[in-house]
């Protein structure tokens, strides 16, 4: 469903992403790994449209999204979480979800009702999403008052609220202990059960190796390997890239 074809991005002469191509199929969990500075986050940002690609193109479900602004990419079914948690901290937990909640396409009530209408109808849906994310009891709290783990879960819940088909997770396990990582693994598998496609950028191998169907390895902005977790663990190039061997 996600097709990335020969994309590239330069930052002042540095090739952050260089001629990168890979696909993610529907319902698949794909891991994107690589040493620090290998272009993983840049790839996520290119897919979301934080900055435009210099060349190449990105398509979702055969629709070319390379030149769409970020919010339109969300509408076409992509959502994400951030490496450093970016919640609306002065809004309450439910409002964080409310902001991202997309209007049902079958509900032709118009934008006036959407933006200025009563919140009662939408609160049911918000509650459902929060319960699914294990935050049912934090409905009214300020997002900034949540614990670190809860903030990560809320960010994931907000990403689900925009009804994505593809969800990009940018280092969701950063700073988590192993219990929290186990919980996160279960949550990612739950996303798969819902029929979502997941692209996971992660350093925590304990998570990556136990959840993904396939791995893409980057180094210096180029793809150096692609395959199942077992194949990647035994790949000489990957070992070299991580261990810095000659």
């Amino acid at each position: 469903m996600l097709k990335i074809k020969n994309i590239g991005k330069n930052f002042g002469g540095v090739k952050a992403v260089d001629d990168l191509s890979f696909n993610v199929d529907k319902g698949e969990i794909v891991g994107l790994i690589g040493p620090n500075g290998s272009g993983k986050s840049t790839t996520i940002n290119l897919i979301c449209g934080v900055f435009p690609v210099d060349f190449g193109n990105i398509s979702v479900n055969e629709q070319n999204i390379s030149s769409l602004p970020t919010h339109e990419r969300v509408a076409s079914g992509i959502s994400r979480t951030f490496q450093n948690i970016r919640l609306f901290k002065d809004l309450s937990v439910w409002q964080n979800i409310w902001v991202a909640l997309q209007q049902d396409s079958d509900q032709s009530s118009g934008w006036m009702r959407e933006w200025f209408g009563n919140s009662k109808l939408q609160k049911e849906k918000i509650k459902e999403i929060l319960v699914f994310s294990g935050l049912g009891d934090r409905f009214d709290d300020l997002a900034g008052n949540l614990s670190f783990g809860e903030q990560r879960r809320l960010e994931l819940a907000r990403a689900i609220a925009s009804k994505p088909k593809l969800i990009l997770l940018d280092e969701p396990a950063a700073g988590m202990n192993s219990d929290e990582v186990a919980d996160l693994r279960q949550r990612i598998l739950d996303l798969k059960k819902l029929g979502l496609t997941v692209l996971l950028v992660e350093h925590v191998m304990e998570l990556v190796m136990n959840v993904v169907d396939r791995i893409v390895v980057l180094n210096f902005g180029k793809k150096i390997a692609e395959g199942s977790p077992e194949n990647i663990q035994n790949n000489k190039d990957v070992q070299k890239a991580y261990l810095g061997g000659a």
């Binding site: 002065d90 409310w98 902001v99």
Partner: protein, 298 residues
């Protein structure tokens, strides 16, 4: 009595100006253009009642729409700049507006007298209220009905999705975009709405003072407009109202007996408030009764 009516009127205009800046601050835009929109509203509605003899309500509405149209235009370039750059660009806008009115001469003879904007001489004889038999108490009531309507509208905004979206954009633009929010629509709408409120305030100001000139619309006033919501806090609209009463009612009027020392105390009090209550006056315990107005749903 006249004196107190004067203070009440003044607090009314300043509250409206502060609320117009509050709406923009919710989206993270610090705009010094509010005084420009205020001036456009003042001159436009003044010209409508004086030269065209139009009814005050219609004139205020049209003046506010003209001001919001200019705000809409300012909104687009403002999208690309933030923080200090936006402050400077909007100061430039307000100065352009001020200098335009400084040079605007549009005199028309009515009943043997020349009326209308007269350049540096200002725009005199905006006497709709006196000519139509409005008492000072009517004028004050009218101004405060408008203030209360705007306060209510902005308070209500926080109870619908649009309010949360404005605040989301103000907190984190990237996260807001990544949640599917169109930044252009949100920021330009806030600018347009802010221009509308400032435009009404300008119209009310011109008609109740009966005289405006370019000196009424300096950057000092723009500074006050953004100072109110910042000092009052962005938690809800009442912070801005408290800040206007605090500055205009207590510091400027209440401390008049101190003479020149007033200015020293003025600065000191603002520094103290910002140090102890960086999130605004609304968080001072004596204002806790504002919890009465807090969102209580669910």
């Amino acid at each position: 009595m006249e004196y107190y009516f004067g203070i009440l009127q003044n607090i009314g205009f300043h509250t409206l100006l502060g609320l117009s800046a509050y709406l923009l601050l919710l989206t993270g835009q610090l705009s010094m253009a509010q005084v420009g929109f205020f001036a456009i509203g003042a001159y436009a509605s003044g010209i409508l009642t004086v030269i065209y003899g139009i009814n005050i309500f219609l004139a205020l509405g049209v003046g506010a729409i003209i001001a919001s149209f200019f705000a809409f235009l300012v909104g687009f370039p403002a999208l690309r700049i933030k923080g200090l750059m936006l402050v400077i660009a909007t100061i430039a806008f307000s100065e352009i507006v001020r200098l335009y009115f400084f040079n605007l001469r549009w005199l028309v003879e009515k009943d043997g007298v020349e009326v209308g904007p007269d350049g540096a001489q200002g725009f005199r004889e905006i006497r709709y209220f006196a000519a139509n038999g409005w008492e000072p108490s009517h004028i004050v009531s009218f101004i405060w009905i408008v203030v209360i309507l705007v306060l209510f509208a902005l308070w209500w905004l926080d109870r619908v999705k649009a309010g949360s979206v404005l605040r989301a954009v103000g907190e984190d633009e990237l996260a807001a975009q990544s949640s599917g929010i169109n930044l252009t629509v949100v920021k330009v709408s806030a600018m347009t709405g802010g221009g509308f409120i400032a435009g009404i305030a300008g119209g009310l100001y011109a008609h109740s003072t009966t005289y405006v000139d370019h000196n009424s619309f300096t950057i000092l006033l723009a500074t006050f407009a953004v100072a109110y919501p910042i000092l009052g806090g962005l938690k809800n609209v009442f912070g801005t109202l408290f800040a206007v009463i605090f500055i205009q009612g207590i510091l400027i009027e209440g401390l008049r007996f101190l003479g020149d020392y007033r200015n020293l105390l003025f600065g000191l009090l603002i520094i103290l408030v910002m140090n102890f209550y960086p999130k605004g006056l609304i968080n001072i315990p004596i204002f806790n009764w504002s919890k009465l107005f807090k969102r209580r749903d669910l």
